[in-house]
């Protein structure tokens, strides 16, 4: 019996101790007509480890082999071998939530180190132990801004159209049940940035927060200082949505404008977490110290034990569902522990210079790719703003057709902006440090062929 250790003698001895004749007797409180016997016939027969491994190996191989230039919220990076060898050690992989602090100091110290790393990357004062992913993290940040902004009575938040549309959609799905509204702010069609002019329409209106994405979905860099100061001048909090790799090169949100961002969230995946079809990733969440009691999720503090020795424990638990029930800041009761552990190891292995080099290669490789592609007739950059590691290109043909033709050549040439932005000929592309010069050439050659066909 897979994973069940009991011998027939064990079962007999256990039933005797219980005083039951059979295992079936143990279900005598369940009404007989409800029992499921015979109802699981659609399930296949069990397989051995070798058989399931072969089956899944065949399935995995079906999806392998292409060269990808898709970014749009999840990015390919080199992950040092040590990261997941350590993160999947049984002591991390099979541990429970660290409620019993004395028996969980490993996990707890890793989270404390993670919190420290995230505050240093973002320039913020405090961090939680992570939430599910970047998009749901933004939903939590929006709800948090309503609690934290004492100057506002509004249940509305300003969200740029140039934010990742998947973030907007997930945030909408999560917050709308609490009668929270997202008001969109358009982008400049020439630069691909969210201009101050677009915000002027909302001056004098009450909003709890302004969301600023740096870089934005188009890869464009926003004028974060001006946007931040405008929001604060209008009694709004600033929620920064950032890519953690980019923070090695770009000004941290804690330093935006005069006062810095108030809440910062983002997708942690670029820091050592594989693409893995979209998860498990994690959302990081940081804020100013004065808002820490409004932050959802697990938070770890450093303290001492009864002998005065340093130790780590869950803290500020009065915010959480297992204590406050219906009055909690959120219903969340996990963090994405393993993914967050991987990022902690990743950041330690890379260090300040390593992460800066990764970010710089992402930037220069994407620039080089854009140059190679725009050398093809009819292919142009869609926007004029400076970018980090993604660029929007307009093509002389519909994007969906071109991408399908590229996929036939095993080149995944980015994502189409047809559906979300009514830009039928536009694609969003990304290159990172993993792409070699020949990868970039491969894309250029393939695109040229497809467009010529």
């Amino acid at each position: 019996m897979p994973y069940i250790p009991h011998t027939p003698d064990d079962v007999r001895a256990m039933l005797d101790a219980i005083g039951a004749d059979s295992i079936e007797d143990l279900f005598d409180e369940i009404p007989a007509h409800l029992k499921a016997a015979g109802k699981l016939d659609a399930l296949p027969e069990g397989l051995s480890e070798m058989e399931v491994t072969r089956l899944m190996g065949e399935r995995a191989a079906m999806d392998a082999g292409a060269v990808s230039f898709i970014g749009a919220g999840a990015y390919q990076h080199h992950i040092p071998a040590a990261v997941w060898e350590i993160a999947t050690r049984g002591e991390f992989y099979t541990a429970y939530t660290p409620y019993q602090a004395e028996a969980s100091q490993g996990t707890l110290q890793v989270i404390y180190e993670f919190q420290t790393l995230m505050t240093r990357l973002t320039g913020m004062e405090v961090s939680n132990a992570s939430v599910y992913d970047g998009a749901s993290g933004l939903a939590e940040a929006v709800l948090m801004s309503l609690r934290a902004n004492r100057k506002s009575k509004s249940r509305k938040v300003l969200v740029p159209t140039a934010l990742n549309p998947r973030y907007t959609a997930a945030t909408q799905a999560i917050v709308e049940n609490q009668d929270v509204a997202l008001q969109t702010v358009g982008f400049d069609a020439a630069s691909g940035q969210t201009p101050l002019d677009a915000l002027k329409d909302f001056e004098g209106e009450d909003f709890a927060a302004l969301v600023i994405s740096q870089p934005n979905f188009f890869g464009s860099l926003e004028e974060v200082d001006a946007l931040t100061d405008w929001a604060h001048a209008n009694n709004m909090l600033v929620i920064g949505v950032v890519n953690p790799t980019s923070l090695a090169l770009l000004a941290p949100p804690g330093e935006w404008g005069t006062e810095g961002a108030d809440i910062v969230v983002g997708e942690g995946q670029p820091l050592g977490v594989p693409l893995s079809s979209g998860g498990p990733y994690y959302g990081f969440m940081c804020c100013k110290q004065k808002y820490v009691r409004q932050m959802p999720g697990r938070i770890i503090g450093r303290t001492v034990d009864m002998e005065g020795k340093q130790g780590f424990a869950l803290t500020l638990q009065a915010r959480e569902q297992h204590i406050r029930r219906s009055k909690a800041t959120s219903n969340i009761c996990t963090n994405q522990g393993l993914a967050m552990t991987a990022s902690t190891i990743y950041c330690s292995l890379l260090g300040p210079d390593g992460l800066t080099n990764v970010a710089a290669h992402c930037h220069t490789n994407t620039q080089a790719l854009a140059e190679k592609l725009t050398a093809i007739e009819g292919v142009e950059r869609a926007f004029s703003a400076p970018t980090f590691h993604e660029v929007v290109l307009t093509l002389p043909k519909p994007a969906t057709e071109v991408l399908a033709a590229l996929a036939e050549k095993d080149v995944l040439g980015g994502v189409s902006l047809a559906k979300d932005y009514d830009m039928p000929n536009a694609i969003l592309i990304n290159a990172t440090e993993v792409h070699s010069e020949s990868d970039l050439d491969l894309f250029a050659v393939a695109l040229k062929e497809v467009l010529a066909a």
Binding site: A72, Y96, N331
Partner: protein, 488 residues
């Protein structure tokens, strides 16, 4: 065990794990980024060698309890063995390197696994449709209650403002109801652990949107009146939500769909043996009855007539409650659950409920025999049961917390303590089907020794643990003098 320095305390300026990152890029190649948007100083990440990192985190891992090392009788948490084969399969390069937005032509392997997993979960729960999108049990709960709300809203039935919840429920239930814009009304639980049906009838009305409950309940007993409860809620126009935290108890024995539930979430990190990972990631798929099918969260996997697989998204399922994450939830966790389902198959699935229930009833009888007090002595245990140490607390001054901490010294993880809230000084104990009889007996021996210590050396028990990396921690200091990040 000695204090482990923080990784930041190992840092030396100028040290680096050179081979872990690409070479430096000349500053003039970064000229396209305007200076005023640039970071002025490099982030203060640790500067350490590769071996320092490996040794540091390996040493930290050794300060954890884990299923791979210890018995974890945590009630409502289902800490069963996590098959290593599942981890290896989910980490196959084809799965690991697949971008979530890869075209369907390059996703058939992954989609086929997800489509089959949806079908397996439908079959074992008796529901009509399943979405794998929610990323944890609490997000599954959110999706479930949001679907209940979408259903009432679509019918123009907007007077329904209340969710009913038995008082023994998990804290996530009321927190979720509030996140979905509902008020919470608690329903009392009787002395035998079943819901007070008369009180439920009195609480039901035109304002009732639904009832959230677990079965077996968090009292560790099967709710015998489930059909009457379902009838009562349905007649009032409400829907019935099944919290799948205790699904392990009934896997293969009875199905939530057959009990009358309209929507359920499953915790794959419990019932389907994916790892807890020190607190996540989990996965919380939802299953629904016929009438909630239009509202399932996206994306889901579908199959065409020609056998190929495709995504079902909000462009075709416009009534969906939408996306709860940027992509497809915790895909890697779902692959591990798929492995587990294929590994167990039909017969293995049926054995889960049987053997987890056998282990719990055996452990309960043995613990009662050494003098422990069951909270519901006249009931069958489900896959878990409750002990109360109210007598020990009153007579000896030794609390459930003290006993839990002392168990750590016996190399046993503590059970769930002080939950459910309605039983004083309680342990909620769930042994799971994967623990051997010897492991259960060792736990009984440890409990017997501790109960003896509680009588003879109560002050010692009150100071436990003694063998862990730290003694009991000062939680008050942790909350009052917040120290959440390291400063040199």
């Amino acid at each position: 065990m000695s204090e482990t320095k923080l990784i930041f305390q190992l840092s030396q300026p100028g040290r680096s794990a050179v081979s872990q990152a690409p070479k430096a890029v000349a500053e003039d190649k970064l000229g396209a980024i305007p200076a005023h948007l640039r970071r002025q100083q490099k982030p203060a990440l640790p500067e350490v060698s590769e071996m320092q990192v490996v040794r540091h985190y390996t040493n930290l891992s050794s300060k954890n309890f884990a299923i791979d090392k210890q018995f974890y009788p945590l009630g409502s948490c289902t800490m069963k063995y996590n098959p290593r084969g599942a981890n290896r399969a989910a980490m196959l390069p084809g799965f690991l390197n697949r971008h979530p937005l890869a075209p369907e032509t390059h996703s058939q392997g992954f989609l086929s696994c997800m489509f089959e997993l949806q079908n397996f979960l439908k079959e074992v729960t008796g529901m009509k449709g399943v979405s794998l999108a929610p990323m944890a049990g609490a997000q599954g709960e959110f999706a479930g209650v949001a679907m209940i709300r979408a259903y009432h809203d679509a019918r123009g039935d907007e007077e329904r403002t209340e969710i009913l919840i038995p008082e023994a429920a998990h804290g996530t239930n009321p927190a979720t109801a509030v996140m979905c814009g509902y008020k919470v009304r608690e329903v009392p639980v009787g002395k035998d652990g079943d819901v007070d049906l008369e009180a439920l009838k009195a609480a039901c009305g035109p304002q009732t949107a639904g009832l959230m409950m677990t079965n077996p309940s968090t009292c560790g007993v099967f709710e015998r009146q489930i059909e009457a409860i379902a009838k009562t809620v349905h007649e009032a126009g409400g829907l019935l939500y099944y919290d799948g935290a205790n699904l392990n108890a009934i896997l293969g024995k009875v199905r939530p769909g057959d009990m009358g539930f309209d929507v359920i979430h499953m915790n794959l990190h419990k019932t389907f043996a994916t790892p807890h990972g020190g607190g996540g990631p989990g996965a919380g798929p939802v299953g629904v009855s016929e009438r909630l099918l239009p509202y399932l969260p996206t994306p889901m996997a579908g199959q065409r007539d020609d056998g190929s697989y495709h995504w079902i998204d909000t462009d075709t399922l416009e009534t969906s409650i939408g996306h709860l994450s940027a992509f497809m939830g915790n895909a890697g966790v779902l692959l591990r659950a798929y492995y587990y389902a294929r590994s167990l198959g039909r017969d293995g699935m049926i054995r889960v409920g049987e053997f987890s229930t056998l282990a719990a009833n055996y452990l309960l009888k043995r613990l009662e025999a050494i003098g422990c007090t069951a909270a519901y002595p006249d009931r069958r245990a489900s896959h878990e049961f409750i002990l109360t140490f109210a007598k020990e607390a009153k007579e000896l001054g030794v609390t459930a917390m003290d006993i839990a901490k002392r168990l750590l010294d016996y190399n046993q993880h503590a059970p769930t303590t002080y939950f459910p809230l309605l039983v004083p000084e309680c342990f909620l104990i769930e042994p799971t089907e994967t623990e051997s009889k010897e492991a259960l007996d060792e736990f009984v021996d440890a409990m017997a020794a501790i109960l003896e210590e509680a009588r003879t050396e109560p002050d010692m028990v009150k100071e436990a643990p003694f063998t862990q990396p730290v003694r009991r921690l000062d939680d008050v200091k942790a909350a009052r003098e917040l120290d959440l990040t390291w400063t040199e």
